[in-house]
Assembly symmetry: D3
Homo-oligomer: 225 residues x 6
Amino acid sequence: MKGVYFLASFLFLALASSFASASDPSPLQDFCVALNDTKIAVFVNGKFCKDPMLAKAEDFFFSGLNVPGNTSNQLGSKVTPVNVEQIPGLNTLGVSLARVDFAPYGGLNPPHTHPRATEILVVLEGTLYVGFVTSNPDNRLITKVLYPGDVFVFPVGLIHFQLNIGKTNAVAFAAFGSQNPGVITIAKAVFGSNPPINPDVLTKAFQLDKNVVKYLQSQFWWDNN
Amino acid sequence: MKGVYFLASFLFLALASSFASASDPSPLQDFCVALNDTKIAVFVNGKFCKDPMLAKAEDFFFSGLNVPGNTSNQLGSKVTPVNVEQIPGLNTLGVSLARVDFAPYGGLNPPHTHPRATEILVVLEGTLYVGFVTSNPDNRLITKVLYPGDVFVFPVGLIHFQLNIGKTNAVAFAAFGSQNPGVITIAKAVFGSNPPINPDVLTKAFQLDKNVVKYLQSQFWWDNN
Amino acid sequence: MKGVYFLASFLFLALASSFASASDPSPLQDFCVALNDTKIAVFVNGKFCKDPMLAKAEDFFFSGLNVPGNTSNQLGSKVTPVNVEQIPGLNTLGVSLARVDFAPYGGLNPPHTHPRATEILVVLEGTLYVGFVTSNPDNRLITKVLYPGDVFVFPVGLIHFQLNIGKTNAVAFAAFGSQNPGVITIAKAVFGSNPPINPDVLTKAFQLDKNVVKYLQSQFWWDNN
Amino acid sequence: MKGVYFLASFLFLALASSFASASDPSPLQDFCVALNDTKIAVFVNGKFCKDPMLAKAEDFFFSGLNVPGNTSNQLGSKVTPVNVEQIPGLNTLGVSLARVDFAPYGGLNPPHTHPRATEILVVLEGTLYVGFVTSNPDNRLITKVLYPGDVFVFPVGLIHFQLNIGKTNAVAFAAFGSQNPGVITIAKAVFGSNPPINPDVLTKAFQLDKNVVKYLQSQFWWDNN
Amino acid sequence: MKGVYFLASFLFLALASSFASASDPSPLQDFCVALNDTKIAVFVNGKFCKDPMLAKAEDFFFSGLNVPGNTSNQLGSKVTPVNVEQIPGLNTLGVSLARVDFAPYGGLNPPHTHPRATEILVVLEGTLYVGFVTSNPDNRLITKVLYPGDVFVFPVGLIHFQLNIGKTNAVAFAAFGSQNPGVITIAKAVFGSNPPINPDVLTKAFQLDKNVVKYLQSQFWWDNN
Amino acid sequence: MKGVYFLASFLFLALASSFASASDPSPLQDFCVALNDTKIAVFVNGKFCKDPMLAKAEDFFFSGLNVPGNTSNQLGSKVTPVNVEQIPGLNTLGVSLARVDFAPYGGLNPPHTHPRATEILVVLEGTLYVGFVTSNPDNRLITKVLYPGDVFVFPVGLIHFQLNIGKTNAVAFAAFGSQNPGVITIAKAVFGSNPPINPDVLTKAFQLDKNVVKYLQSQFWWDNN
C-alpha cells in the first residue's frame, strides 16, 4: 500500500498548484474552454481545456463591463480586462477585450506594451490624447486626440499610452488580437521590478543620477490592470 | 516610341483596377499600412502597403462609431464595420471592430459566420438573445440573454446570431481576431447567391418544396453590413 | 486511506471521459500520435499524444477507403472521413482525406462549410455539379460540372456542395488542409440544432412563414458524415 | 524623352521574367488566385494574385487525373502533380494533390522529402511497400504494405518512399498540406546536383570509394515529378 | 505623349522610395531573396523578392562578424546586426544574428525589447550581468552572470539588458527567431522619441519632476544598433 | 481496494516514461519552461511546462559552449546542440543554437536537413566549404568558402553540408529558427535506418549494385550530433 500512498501523495501535490498560461490563436476544434480552476501543476502553451461536451453558455460569458473602474489611484486610470482569465471560452480563440476608465484632468494609462497583441481602441466618453512610438532607429511618435466614437490602433509590441486631457471622466473599450495579450508597464517593469535591476544599468541607460535611480526604485509602482 | 506607348498602356490598364484582399496577422515590421486606394491590378495575400516613413496618425484612425446605424430595413439591424477597409493601418495586425445597431422588438443580426475570425461582443444598450451552433454531428445551440455590460464570444467559423428581444434600440460593439474577418450571411448566401444555386440542391438540402425554393430565390436578401 | 480513495475516485471520474479535439498544423517534432482512446478528462488544443518511441505503422494507417459508403438515405450521399479520429498519426500534421459516395439521379452532399480547412476534390466516377459561394457582399456562385479525373477546390470557410447529376453512382476523394477540418451542414445546423433556435430568428432571417420554420425544425436532419 | 525610355526599358526587362514561388497557407480573403502567367520580375512569399472579381471556375479546376502517368523510365514511376502551378486558385489555401503511377514489378517512387508538407496517400490499385524514416538519432524505419483502399501518412520533412511489389500497375492519390509542398529526391539532389558537390563530401558522408562517387555523379538522375 | 509622360513620372516617383519592411517566417518556396535595393514605392508584409533562378551564394552571405564594434560611445556597447537588411536571403526564413561588443567596466546594452523575436545569446569573451523582467503584474527580474561559453535566453517581447561587469572587453553573439526582430530601446523610445511625448505623460508615468522629464527629453539618446 | 490499486498501477506505468517532443514557436505567455524530467507518459505538440512562478534563471541557461567537441570520429566533426533539450526555457520560443567543431583536413558535417528550421552559421575559426542544394527539379548547388567572421544561411528543409578545407581545426556557431530543429543525416537515415530499408528501394534509387547497398547497410553510421 505504501507505493500507492506515495503515488497519491505525489499526485496530490501536483494537483495543488494552479494554471497561469494562455491559449493558442489557431483553434483545432470548435473551441477549447480553459480549465482555469484546475489543480494540475503541469502547464501547456496556452491552457488545458475541459471536455467540449461540458461547455456551456457561461463559459463564453462575462458580466459587468458597464461598471466604471475605480480611478482613485496615482495614475488616475483603471483597466478592466476581459481575457482568457475572465472568459475561459476565449482559450485558443485569439481575441479579448478591456474597459479603460480615466479620471478627469490627466488620468493616464501609462506607456506600456502588449507583447502578444495589437490593440484597437474606441472612445465611449471623454477626450483622450493617445500615441505610440515606432521601433529603432526612428522612434517616431504618432499621436492623435480622440473624441467619442473615434477609433485608434496600437500595433503589437510598440510602446503606447492614453491620457485624459478633458475635464470629465473618459471611458474606452479596447480589443486585442490575443486571448492573453500581456501587459508590460514600462516604468513599473524598469524601476519597480522584483528584485530591483542593478542601478548601474538604469543610471547609464536613463542618463539619471544614481540617487534618482535609487529613489525611483524605492517608490511604489501602481499596476492599473 | 511604340514599345514605350504599348508598355505604358499595359501599365495603365493594370493600374486601373483596385484592391480587394486583406492582410497578414503576423506582422514582419512595426506596421504595414494598406494601400486601399492604389490602382495596381495585382494583389497579394492581404494588401500592399505604403512606405512606412509616410505612415501618419490618420492611417490608424477612424471616426464615427458613436453614430447609430440605420436599422430601417427588413432585418432591423445595421453593422458598421471598422476593419482594414476603413483603417488601412490595421493591415497585418490581425484585429478589427464593428458597431451593431438593432431596432426594437426583433431587430436581428441574422445567422452568419466569420470565416477568418472569432468575435467577442459587448452590449452597450438593450437586451439581446444571442447564440451559436457547434459543428456536426452535435449542432448544439449555446445561447444567452445579454444586458448592458455583458460580453459573449462566438468562436471562429461557427454560425451565430443576435436578436433584440427588448422594447428599445440595442447597441453592441464587436471585436474580431482578424483585420478582415469576412461575413457569410447564411440565408443570403444560400438563397440569394448570384447566380442562383440549382434549386434541386436547395430543395433536397432544406427539405422544402421546389416552389418555395424558387420563391425564396426570387426574394431580395438584405446585407446588413 | 480515505484521502487516497477520494483522490483515486476523483481521478477515476476524470479518466472516464474521452477526447474530442484535434491537433496543431505546425508539428514541433517528427510526429505526435494522438491518444484517441485515452481516458483523461483534460484536453488541449488538438490532442494529447503517445510516447513517440511507441509509435508504430498502424498509427499512420487506415483501411477501407475502397468500400462504397451507403447512400440509402434522404440525401443520397455518404462521407467516409479519414481524419485524426481515424488515423491518430495525423495529429499535428495538418492534412486529412474523405471518400464521398453519391446515389444516382441527385445524390447530394448538401451546402456545408469546413471551418478549419480548404478542400480539394477529385472525381473517380460519375458526373458532379459542384459549387461554392463567396462571402458578402457579392455571394458569387462559382460552379463547374466535373467528370472522372477532374479536380476542384473549395476555399476554407465558404459554403459549398456537390450534386450527382448523372445516372450512375458517383465517387470522389476529398483532401483537406487540416487533420480535423470540421463540418457544418447548413440546413441541419440552422433548422436541426439542439435545442432549436428561437423561430423568430429563422422566420426573419429566411423570410419564411413561422409555421414553415416550425415544420422544418420538427423534421429529421440527416448527417451524411 | 530619354528618361522615359530608360524607365520603360527597365520595366520591360523587369516584366520579362516569370513567377516561381508558392502561396500562403493562411488566406486573408476568400481566395487569392495566383497570377502564374504574369510577366513581373518581382516575387513575394507565395504568389501575386489576380483581381478577385475576375476569378472564375476554371481558376479552381484541373482536368486529367484519370490519365495514367508514363512509367517507362529508369524508376518505373510517374508523379502527376496538381498544386498551385496547375490550379492557380490553390494559392494561399494550403492543400494540393498528386497522382502517382507505378510500373509492375518494382516501380519505385524513390526516397524523397517534402520540405513544406505532410503527405497522406490512398491506394487505388496494386500493392505498395511504403515507409518513412524518423529523424536522428533513432532513424527508425516505419513501413507497411498497402492494398487498394489503404491510406498511409508520411510526416512533413521525413524521408519516405513507395515501391510497387505487385505484378500489376499500381496507382495512388496523394494529398499534401501545402499548395506548394516541394520535392527533394534524395539521390538526385545529392549525386545529381548542378554543379556537382565536391566528391570529398560524398565520399566521406556515404562511405563510398571516390571512384564510385564520381561514377554516380556522372549518371543521369531521372526526376519522376 | 503627355499621358505616357505623366505615367512615367508617376512611376519614377514611385520607384524613388526604398523598402523598409521584413519577411515571412513560413517560407512558401525554398527561399525568397529580398530585393533590398529595389526602387518600388510599394511594400508588402516582409519584402519583395528576386527571381529565385537569379539567387546566388552572395545572397545568403555576410562577412565581417569577426570585426569588433566600436564601443566608444555613451553606452559603451555596439550591436552589429546580421538580419534581412544585411543578408537578403534571410527573407521569409525567420532567423538572424548579431554581434554585441561591450567596453570594459560597465559597457551596457541598455534595457530594450525585440517585438518580433526571442533572443538566445552566447558569450565569447568577458563577463556579463544579464537579465529580463517578466510582464505585469509580477515584473520578476531574472538575472545571471555569464562567462565565456555560457548561453542565456531572453523571451520575445520582454525587457532585457546586458552589462559588462568585467575589466576587459566582452563579446557575445546573439541569435533571433526572426529575420527582422526589431529593437525598442526603452529609454530612447520614451525620452528620445521624435517628436517628444507630452511631458505630462512621462511625469506621471515615471514619478519624475517635470523639469527632470524636460531635461531628459533634451538629451541625446544613442542608438547602439 | 483492488480498483484503487489497479488505477494507481496504471498511473505508475504511465508516469514511468519520459518526454521526447519539442515546443510551439508562438508563445501564449511570457514563457513556458519545459518539464524535461517529468515522468508523465502523455505528450503534447511541444512539451508540457512547469508552473511559471517556479521558473528560475537556470531554466534559461546553458554552460559549456566554449568547450571544443571531440572530432575523433569517422566524420571528423562534432555538433554540440543547445536546444530545448538542454535549455528547457526555450520551450515555445522558437530559437536554438549549436556549436560545430571540425577536425583539420576534411572534418565534415555531412549532408543533412533540419525539417523544422532554417540555419544561420557564423565561422569562428578555420576555413569551411559549405553549400546547400535546392529542391527539384533544378537541384542547384549553392556554395561558398567561409573564413572567420563569415556568415551563411541554409534554408529550412534543404540538404546542406560543411567541410573543413583548412589545415587547422574549424569552429562555427549555428542558430536555428526552432527550439527543436531536428536533424536528418541523409546517408545515415537512408543506409543506416533501423530496421534497414528494402535493398530493392536503394538499389534502384541510388543506381548502385545490390551488393554495394547491402555492404553500406552493414556499415556503422556515426551520428555527429
